[in-house]
Symmetry: C2
Subunit: 138 residues, 2 copies
DNA sequence: GTCTAATATTTTAATATCAAACAATAAAAC
DNA sequence: GTTTTATTGTTTGATATTAAAATATTAGAC
């Protein structure tokens, strides 16, 4: 296999490996990766409309409707129609949602830190720089 | 955000970016990423049982049943029950499947090479080594 | 040899994903 | 001001994804 293809394969495997090793706290809390992504975005950025959430977690907006639906069913978030522009629906964490994500996020975060610790700080910096160049360019 | 979390985020974004930029030839051929993965595995490794295919494309075996079902519907692969151990089902490319993957794979491959070319060979080597250390460790 | 454990696949139920069509609303053009 | 265009979100239809239970088959224990 040529260098670019082999590098791409390793990149994909690394991303999938770290994710699968760090998603246990999510599934233990009954959250899917997308649900966790939504709650985390709301935790760190405050209330957001669905379009912004979709952009943050890189999913289509049709999809977000369903993810939010399932979070609403579990009373972890609530929808609030904007008064000024009725096209927008702002999503808010409920107290239950806030409590859950405040408990789960540190666990996931700690697992990611643990996993990345295979690389030194310098290596992580370097990896981040290389990845950023592949990520941008849109 | 701390270095490990920021590095992880960049890793994920890079993997998703390159994949989304290189999957056009697949969707143009009416193939999902998983369907492409199955056909590619069969192209490069020859006939495989479903368990081995699942391991190759990192998906659950329950899932593979459906992906293969959809490929069979389009006559791109066929199932063949093993005579020696009837638990195994070996999946073979049909002539149509072989023809399709032989057309699509080089396109995807070329797109990946193009995308990775943002990095020099040395940088790709380095990225591959860093990613491999994150990927292994199971 | 029979019973038990292991393996390969399928099924089921719930959620996710995307693309495309649709509905509602707002902004811009005229 | 009405019409056109753009934006936000929902719905629909097809496929994917996982976990867990079920099925079929083989291998191992006794």
């Amino acid at each position: 296999m040529t260098l670019p293809l082999s590098t791409y394969t390793k990149l994909m495997r690394a991303a999938e490996s770290v994710t699968s090793r760090t998603s246990r706290p999510m599934s233990d809390a009954g959250l899917t990766i997308s649900q966790f992504g939504v709650l985390e975005a709301l935790l760190h950025r405050g209330p957001l409309c669905q379009k912004d959430i979709a952009a943050k977690i890189l999913k289509s907006s049709g999809n977000i409707t369903m993810v939010i639906d399932n979070l609403v069913k579990r009373c972890l978030v609530r929808r609030e129609r904007s008064e000024t522009d009725r096209r927008f629906i702002t999503i808010h964490l409920t107290p239950e949602g806030s409590s859950l994500i405040n408990e789960v996020f540190p666990q996931v975060s700690a697992a990611i830190v643990d996993n990345m610790a295979i690389l030194s700080s310098e290596e992580q910096e370097l990896l981040g720089q290389l990845c950023r160049r592949l990520g941008r360019q849109d």
